[in-house]
Symmetry: C2
Subunit: 458 residues, 2 copies
């Protein structure tokens, strides 16, 4: 059944015992992700120690067998699919929080710990780890590290790469390396730490991470601003980001999203050309001022209404429209391509205009929402995958969306990564010399190309 060399199977089953899985259902369970694609591995390895990870990589490398690291499989880009077969390495058993160092504002973890579990362990210390993807309750820190995950709080606190101090990782050569340190300042040699973050398991398997933490703000308050059009909302985003009170979240929804949230999601919200949800965090003494400053910046040409929620309960009500959106999207369209492009914030109007033009040209429903403070919009192409013509039009619109993003000085992904889904568009994002440099880096870490082959680089 497995096409793995017998000697490799013998070696790894002896090494891993019940952490070596070859059953059909176990292989299938490790052969899919949130991209709705699938591909079967030949086996699943579930190591308990870094030494086992080293041994797995060395054994697979000796046989040129592909190795695909896997957290919880929430990738939306196919990044964890074993498309070339081989061994999926699951980090389910390496999920410990090793050391909460509150005085040093950092935590040492194994990669398999869930983001949500980590946050709960940190909260009693008054600390949190800033990356907050929508899948936080399900996804692992290792997966967050692999794809440089973000989330709404990124606008103030940074994405995953901004919140990692050090790593231990096993390269494609089967060598355990240690980079970075438990310090917030480091000018010692090459920064391998931030290079490995976002490399989607193609350079090394992370076996331990030292994460940078932030103090939990005691209170939050929200603003909801409705605008006549996207240009007015985008101008407000620039004004908000140009003053010193950085919002804790700054989320955008276009007119189509607002209608969906109301008509399908049941949110209490009037029609508008665009919406901004703005969150401030702080404490009782500063929050009113932060809200006032953010409200002032949100005001300007094209503002239709501005609602303030002074506390968390009122906030929940204001955020209802944003929260109603994702279920509403799921309910109206059986197929959804959730794109994750980024543009400089001043180009948001051009991006949204361009998306609307694409929707007309390809006769598709495309809605846009997302993390406006970072210019990171999720363009959702809604279609019926059983309708061959719609499916073809949706696939045809995608390259045009990427071309538009790049023409605006943006980039292909803000927080989902490249995986399989955008691999073939990398040639448009980077010139041949830059791609060649990335390939040379890949070869430096993984000379035989055994780590997650076929991902990221075209």
């Amino acid at each position: 059944m497995s096409s793995l060399p017998a000697s490799l199977v013998d070696e790894l089953s002896a090494l891993l015992g019940d952490g070596w899985l070859t059953g059909a259902s176990e292989r299938a369970a490790h052969g899919n992700d949130n991209s709705r694609r699938s591909a079967l591995p030949d086996a699943v390895a579930v190591p308990s120690t870094r030494e086992q990870v080293v041994a797995i990589v060395r054994a697979c490398r000796a046989h040129r067998v592909p190795i695909v690291a896997r957290g919880a499989g929430t990738s939306s880009t196919g990044a964890v699919l074993p498309t070339a077969g081989g061994v999926v390495v699951s980090f389910d058993r390496m999920n410990r929080i090793l050391d909460i160092r509150a005085g040093d504002r950092c935590v040492v973890v194994e990669p398999g710990v869930l983001n949500g579990d980590l946050q709960r362990a940190l909260a009693p210390h008054g600390l949190f780890w800033p990356p907050d993807p929508a899948s936080a309750e399900l996804c692992t820190v290792g997966g967050n590290l692999a794809c440089n995950a973000g989330g709404p709080h990124t606008v103030k606190y940074g994405a995953t790469r901004d919140n990692v101090l050090g790593l231990s990782a096993v390269t494609g050569s089967g060598e355990l390396i240690r980079c970075g340190s438990a310090t917030t300042k480091d000018a010692t040699g090459y920064d391998l730490t931030h290079l490995i973050v976002g490399s989607e398991g193609t350079l090394a398997l992370i076996v331990e991470a030292t994460l940078k933490l932030a103090p939990l703000p005691p209170q939050r308050a929200s603003l909801r601003a409705l605008y006549l059009d996207v240009a007015s909302a985008a101008a407000a985003v620039s004004r908000i980001m140009a003053q010193p009170v950085t919002p804790a979240m700054l989320e955008f929804m276009d007119a189509a999203c607002i209608r969906l949230a109301r008509d399908v999601g049941g949110a209490d919200i009037p029609d508008a050309g665009a919406l901004l949800m703005i969150e401030a965090d702080g404490d009782a003494a500063t929050l009113p001022h932060a809200v006032a400053v953010l409200a002032h910046a949100a005001r300007g040409a094209g503002l239709l209404s501005l609602d303030t929620a002074p506390d968390e309960i009122a906030s929940e009500k204001l955020w209802a429209a944003r929260k109603a959106l994702s279920p509403a999207l799921r309910s109206i369209a059986p197929g959804k391509i959730n794109e994750d492009v980024v543009v400089p914030v001043t180009r948001i109007p051009d991006l949204v205009d361009g998306i609307q033009a694409l929707a007309r040209e390809f006769d598709l429903r495309i809605v846009a929402f997302g993390h406006a403070g970072n210019g990171n919009l999720h363009a959702n192409i809604l279609f019926d995958p059983d309708d061959t013509s719609q499916d073809a039009r949706a696939q045809a619109a995608l390259p045009r969306l990427f071309a538009l993003t790049l023409a605006l000085g943006g980039t292909l992904s803000g927080e989902h990564g490249i995986g399989l889904a955008k691999r073939d568009f990398m040639v448009h994002a980077f010139d041949p010399a830059t791609l060649a440099a990335m390939r040379a880096v890949k070869a430096a870490f993984d000379p035989d190309g055994v780590l997650n082959p076929g991902k990221v680089l075209p």
Copy 2:
């Protein structure tokens, strides 16, 4: 006079015209830095365009001639010394600010612009670039990028690596690459941007950078806290860093520094075991609260006195002791090794205790001060280089200081980099596998080893 191949000289002098310098004084002027070492280049190239930089690298590579990029030569580690001869590439003529994009909170610059000139150009837009090394008026942005420079504001705003969005750079293969983008979120391919930052000209020559900017806070206020001993001050640092009001600066001075600032520098300050200077920034509405919160965190066991400066004039007076320190150090010791180690903040007391033990053991005067919020202390070994015995003891104490730092979970450099000065200690900071990975990265960018040979990696 020059040992360069005649055909290379012909090619580069034709390419660069008056940007090709071979006179003895010009070579000498480009053969030193702030490390008090020197080494003569064979020639100095002063390109005006990125195309010229590409041509210089390709020509030198063809002849295996070393290339050393140079900003203003303020490196304190010998990083810009052409110890293997060859061509120094000065970025004096590539010093333009290309595009201030206030709405996108970024600026596009050439590497030769001075940090201080950039700040003055940004101030009218209400923005600043956070890296603020002591040499800001003299040093170039390219130099800041090369060594991942920091400064006192790093504790709140991050160091150079944290404030760069994208780069154009010429690799050792003579290829122009473009990485990153004018966006604050990027999960697209390998992060070459932050890898090149801090690589000290050994991977690529930066020809353009897109820098992340921060809004200028309208007001500042300062606190001066004196403590019985270092342990009390370090505990206060942990308390300050564990709550949500991050100080804009958090500087430390040990007892010896306090005495020097008073007795030699003339500062009005009583004796104490340790001093913290704490700066808050914000606006009129929030600053009093920030000061109150920071003062609360500064209070605790061992606090001797706490002085508040509510405005900039009073702040200047409080900061006088810190500012008097560097001139005082220069006036009392002809020789000074200004080390730049980093430890996790909770290990500051162990570091300072260890430094005092080294001072006793080697019969040397060693004082410690620096950026406590990041655990980045400057251990200054004061000695007379003309006194052979003292000089030898100072050199012998250095490896012990590094060993102490590493044993405390720290790292060799926080903001000065490695250069020549710490190159041979890299084997203690990293295991062979990690150094091998760094060497593989070096080979990927610079296969013939022409870029700044002999620096960073042992």
